[in-house]
């Protein structure tokens, strides 16, 4: 068993909501609500969920880019929840983030050399000629070359920019990298390239990833374990193929919403009913119950805990394992493909 790198305990992040004539706090958005998650060294944990489910907030809070409302974050066994100033800056050298929008995360007025070199300058690791060499090494690692050093972000394509961002994240030799939807703004061919690059880098740099995406296939491709989030909570955490062994009705619904490239199986998707409830006043009991076709009286009253249904497969459903979802189009398609 490898060592634990990040431990998240009962993490909560609420955003205050103001209103009225005098801008009083009238409520709060439960962006991340009581999430616990362990991440082991060298693995990739995928976080998946609809937009607005709090996955991005979770990623940022873990890195202390946002201050948690409640709960604890441990990094290499050290509590970093309350760190400030220099101590925080030092711990941040170990954990980096790659943002969703590479254009916005590069300063338009700074050349690539200085953008990628910024972590090195800031932490007084290198400057002058040494800096140039280091930056060049990093750029080469992500498949760029010396010509790119002195260009501005707007001279690159989306995929190249994302690789620049990755190079910057790797500049400090971090242990843990949060990938916040890194491929959602690039097209599919580039996406595959970038994903493979990330996998290679993970081996070369011995990285641990938290991989956030709304794209199930991408997450499946990248991750060792997958956490499914809904309204600020983790509903299912599975080490298995999410397309085959989902035990939570929400996960199943998500899986069956993925389109299948075969008309024979079309039209069978199990569509979720209703809209995502507001995270300002989340539903009582199980968060998913208003949209769940299996919901019973118990679901409205009691909130299900995450419980182990075997081999580290955690599910937060009162009826986990008891429900028969039938077969999703994806499964049938997968079978059809494998049998043919």
């Amino acid at each position: 068993m490898t060592e634990l790198l990040v431990e998240i305990e009962n993490l909560k992040k609420y955003f205050p909501l103001t209103g009225g004539v005098f801008r009083k706090v009238v409520g709060k958005v439960h962006a991340v609500d009581d999430v616990s998650l362990d991440i082991r060294e060298g693995e990739t944990v995928g976080i998946v969920g609809e937009s607005g489910c709090g996955k991005t907030t979770l990623g940022r809070t873990v890195l202390r880019l946002l201050n948690p409302t409640d709960g604890k974050i441990h990094f290499q066994g050290r509590d970093i929840t309350e760190l400030k100033g220099t101590a925080l800056r030092e711990i941040r050298r170990q954990m980096q983030i790659v943002f969703q929008d590479p254009m916005a995360s590069l300063d338009p007025r700074v050349t690539i050399k200085n953008s990628v070199g910024e972590p090195l300058i800031v932490n007084k690791i290198a400057r002058g000629p040494l800096l140039r060499n280091k930056v060049l090494e990093l750029l080469q690692a992500v498949g760029l070359n010396e010509d790119h050093l002195n260009r501005f972000p707007h001279e690159f394509s989306g995929g190249q920019r994302q690789r620049i961002c990755i190079a910057r994240a790797l500049a400090l030799n971090p242990k843990f990298v949060v990938m916040d939807e890194p491929t959602s703004s690039t097209d599919v061919s580039v996406q595959a390239q970038t994903l493979n690059l990330m996998k290679d880098l993970q081996k070369d740099f011995k990285l641990t990833y938290m991989f956030i995406s709304h794209n199930l296939s991408v997450v499946k491709h990248m991750s060792d374990r997958i956490a499914v989030m809904y309204l600020g909570k983790i509903l299912e955490l599975t080490p298995y193929d999410i397309f085959k062994t989902s035990k939570h009705p929400y996960t199943f619904a998500l899986v069956s919403a993925v389109p299948v490239p075969d008309p024979r199986f079309a039209g069978r998707a199990q569509i979720l009913k209703g809209e995502v409830p507001s995270p300002i006043n989340p539903p009582t009991g199980c968060r998913f119950h208003p949209r769940c076709i299996f919901a019973q009286e118990k679901c409205k009253l009691e909130e299900p805990e995450l419980r182990d249904v075997g081999d580290g497969h955690l599910v937060a459903c009162h009826f986990a394992g008891e429900l028969d979802f039938g077969k999703s189009a994806q499964m049938e398609y997968a079978q059809a493909v494998s049998s043919s």
Binding site: I97, N123, P129, R132, L172
Partner: protein, 579 residues
């Protein structure tokens, strides 16, 4: 590119040149900042004193208002650069190069002490290029310049494609260079009058040889109330001390300069008036540094008069020095009346004069020359105002945006209040509060009126930038708040600021000219465009050229700034530059 791999070459830390360079830079920084600070303080002090009494600052102070602000900032930056060089930060060297070049240029405009500063800058630049120092930074600098030169070239390409911006640049550069070369090009002095040529239409030749030149001094004053008779004249402070210059060509080789002086009092009423008038063969600075007995040796002419009233006298000055000081003591026994005293010197000239290509005003001032001189006054005025307002506004706005909370709330409410007053109206009220009517008062009033615009702008930009992903990215790699502020937020804020400031320079020019048009400006006779229009207004039907030309000058200058501001908005935005 092998120099990059050769780490040994970077081991210049022990080298003496580095240390000398760093400490020189630190020393120059402190010196320059202190110098700038002293002038600013001096100006402020005189400004405040001027609000309460009739105190005129020494000329040098007022003249260097613009430079002093720049020098203060420059000094602080140089100091910073020195510290960074001490730490061998590679960016520090190129920054130091820029700063010193800028410093060299600025220094040349601040008189004697500026030469000293310029020399120091020059030495610093030389030090930067000594072999061992150069090795450390020059290659990296050259490489950093490549993308910048590329961007600049592209900007210039965009500028060339936009005819309106080119027009604007031509207008601004034209006006600025006219202001600079005014002393050389202008055929007549800023306040020089030739009575015989009064009201000449454009293109008139000047009327022949042997003419007179007139110098005016026009003052409004509240004389010290006194009763005449048996009073020591030296006792009350003189109400007028000023210098005038007589030029070579105005001196009769046999007799020396011939001068006629004329003193007129207005609003005499039934007062008993008396005055004492004297001319010394000294310049103003020397005069002030001497005591009474030493001055007496240079006294050329004195006269004391009791009772009526306007005086016209001739006098010859037999001295080789050509700058004279005249002094006027003046008494009356009426407490409340407001006096206007006009002193006019008429000096005979012995040569012919250039044509008046744009005509003359009602008392024989050459419009063309006065517009050139006015370019100096008006451009300096509006640039100083905008520069000070931008600095103050940026500082306050950045603080408000960055720290947020209470500071932000207070700053925003204060700017709200300022925004409630239209520029000219608030400036009018402030001018009135300051009492004195002069260019300095106008500039103080307009600085007070204009800073909130920039505070708002910068605050908004800082708030906007603060939320940007690249700021978060910088934070996540451990960048400090200061670094984020200076290397990400401010560079991205500065461009809308430049656009706004450029356009405002035109607006400030208009408002300042408007204020001086209504009658708040410098004393009558000064070569200021707004004032010239105000004078011309009275003769609009008969001598329209008095009004037309200064107005065109204002319009073109303001148009230039607006064209450039409007045009560079698009050109400067990196997000809009696609190839």
């Amino acid at each position: 590119m092998e120099s990059y791999n050769d780490d040994k070459k970077t081991n210049g830390e022990d080298s003496l040149q580095f240390t000398i360079l760093a400490f020189l830079q630190i020393f120059v920084g402190i010196l320059v900042a202190v110098f700038g600070g002293i002038i600013i303080l001096g100006n402020l002090t005189y400004g405040v004193m001027g609000a309460f009494g009739d105190v005129l600052p020494p000329e040098t102070l007022g003249t260097y208002a613009l430079q002093s602000v720049i020098l203060l900032v420059l000094g602080l930056l140089l100091f910073k650069a020195g510290l960074a060089i001490l730490e061998l930060d590679s960016f520090a060297f190129s920054t130091s190069l820029y700063l010193n070049i800028f410093m060299l240029l600025i220094s040349l405009t601040v008189g004697i002490i500026g030469l000293f500063f310029a020399m120091l800058s020059f030495v610093t630049i030389l030090l930067l290029f000594t072999p061992s120092v150069k090795l450390y930074w020059y290659d990296a600098f050259k490489e950093d310049m490549v993308p910048r030169i590329k961007e600049t070239r592209y900007s210039l390409h965009l500028v060339r494609k936009s005819p309106l911006v080119v027009l604007g640049i031509v207008l601004i550069l034209g006006m600025v260079s006219l202001a600079f070369i005014a002393p050389v090009v202008a055929p007549y002095g800023p306040e020089e009058r030739i009575w015989a040529d009064a009201k000449d239409p454009p293109g008139s030749p000047s009327g022949g040889k042997n003419k007179t030149r007139e110098i005016y001094d026009e003052r409004n004053t509240n004389p010290v109330p006194r009763v005449i008779g048996g009073v020591d004249w030296q006792d009350p402070p003189p109400i007028l001390i000023a210098e005038f210059t007589v030029y070579e060509n105005e001196t009769n080789p046999d007799l020396g300069p011939w001068i006629e002086y004329e003193i007129e009092f207005e609003e005499l009423g039934d007062d008993n008036v008396s005055f004492y008038f004297a001319v010394y063969g000294l310049n103003l600075t020397t005069y002030q540094s001497m005591d009474e007995s030493a001055r007496a040796a240079h006294l050329y002419y004195e006269t004391t008069r009791f009772g009526p009233r306007d005086v016209e006298e001739e006098l010859f000055l037999y001295n080789a020095t050509y700058t004279y000081v005249y002094v006027l003591w003046f008494s009356c026994d009426h407490k409340y009346s407001n006096w206007e005293i006009d002193i006019k010197f008429t000096i005979l000239r012995h040569e012919s004069f250039p044509d008046h290509i744009w005509g003359t005003d009602e008392i024989g001032g050459d419009i063309f020359s006065r517009i050139l001189w006015g370019a100096q006054i008006d451009l300096r005025l509006s640039l100083t105002i905008v520069l000070v307002a931008v600095s103050v506004g940026t500082f306050i706005g950045a603080a408000a945006g960055y720290y947020g909370g209470k500071i932000d709330e207070i700053v925003m409410r204060v700017t709200d209040v300022f925004f409630a007053f239209p520029g000219l109206v608030l400036a009018m009220a402030i001018v009135m509060a300051l009492g004195e009517r002069s260019l300095d008062t106008i500039s103080i009033a307009l600085m007070v009126t204009w800073w909130p615009t920039y505070a708002r702008l910068v605050r908004g930009q800082v708030l906007l930038e603060r939320e940007k992903l690249y700021v978060e990215a910088a934070r996540s790699v451990g960048a400090s708040d200061m670094r984020i502020l200076f290397s990400h937020i401010i560079p991205n804020t500065i461009q809308p600021l430049i656009v706004q400031a450029t356009m405002d320079t035109g607006g400030v020019l208009l408002t300042a000219a408007g204020l001086s048009f209504i009658g708040f400006g410098p004393p009558a006779g000064a070569a200021e465009w707004g004032l010239m229009i105000a004078k011309g207004q009275m003769y609009l039907t008969s001598y329209p050229w008095m009004t037309v030309f200064p107005g065109v000058a204002i319009l073109l200058t303001a148009l230039g700034f607006n064209l450039v501001g409007d045009g560079i908005r698009d050109i400067m935005d990196p997000k809009l530059r696609r190839r």
